[in-house]
């Protein structure tokens, strides 16, 4: 069985400040790791993923996440946030065999001017 814990339900920050959204997972098998973003009244969109190789993965809009196997973590970071980053962020793990995603509870990121 797999589970995902997002340690912060809400994270308020000011524009241009750095942010970290924390994610820990547990699994008895190797997993793939994802971050999805959900804007109001929209479906989930992929932000970035870790499948193998380099433990640091980056998105096209400045987010990055680092896979830490020993700490079973996949925290999401951005060095300088924008108002448009305001959204809910979901960390997820996938069973390699079946592709079923298990989501964390989500973190609402609110960027203030």
């Amino acid at each position: 069985a797999q589970s995902v814990t997002q340690l912060d339900s809400q994270v308020p920050v000011f524009e241009e400040a750095p942010v970290e959204l924390r994610c820990n997972y547990s699994s008895s098998v190797s997993v793939y790791l994802f971050w999805y973003v959900q804007y109001p009244n929209q479906g989930l969109q992929l932000l970035l993923k870790y499948l193998s190789g380099s433990t640091l993965v980056e998105s096209i809009n400045g987010f990055e996440a680092e896979f830490n196997k020993s700490q079973t973590s996949f925290h999401l970071r951005k060095p300088s946030v924008h108002i448009s980053d305001t959204a809910e962020y979901f960390c997820a793990v996938s069973d390699p065999s079946y592709g079923k995603l298990t989501f964390g509870q989500g973190t609402i990121l609110t960027v203030h001017p």
Binding site: V4, S9, V31, Y32, F34, Y36, N41, Q42, G43, L44, Q45, L46, K49, L51, F90, S94, D95, P96, S97, Y98, G99, K100, L101, T102, F103, G104, Q105, G106
Partner: protein, 117 residues
């Protein structure tokens, strides 16, 4: 653009009145998923189709059923909605991905928000 379309976006029903939500995709993906997302909670997988093979999650209530008449369409039927079934219902698709389907990125629709009065 290839995408996943869910209808209706908003559905209001009365307690016990059956509801059907639809999902269509132009991605030609062979896997389709239905997730239930309640307010401030993680999306929860209800069931998924691998081609025509139906896979029900163990804790999905019998009140929820699904149909997939062809590759492009999938339906979620709620036979007797209760107040606790009010939620956003998300449809997603994914390719089989060879030996590692778990590596596939899921494409989500915008969701159908169900209100039960």
């Amino acid at each position: 653009d290839a995408m996943v379309i869910q209808n209706p976006r908003y559905q209001v029903t009365q307690f016990g009145k059956p509801v059907t939500l639809s999902c269509s995709q132009t991605l030609n993906h062979n896997v389709m998923y239905w997730y239930q997302q309640k307010s401030s909670q993680a999306p929860k997988l209800l069931f998924h189709y691998y081609d025509k093979d139906f896979n029900n999650e163990a804790d999905t209530p019998d009140n929820f059923q699904s149909r997939r008449p062809n590759t492009s369409f999938c339906f979620l039927d709620i036979r007797s909605p209760g107040l606790g079934d009010a939620a956003m219902y998300l449809c997603a698709t994914g390719g089989r991905g060879g030996r590692t389907p778990g590596a596939n990125v899921l494409t989500f629709g915008a969701g159908s928000r169900l209100t039960v009065l």
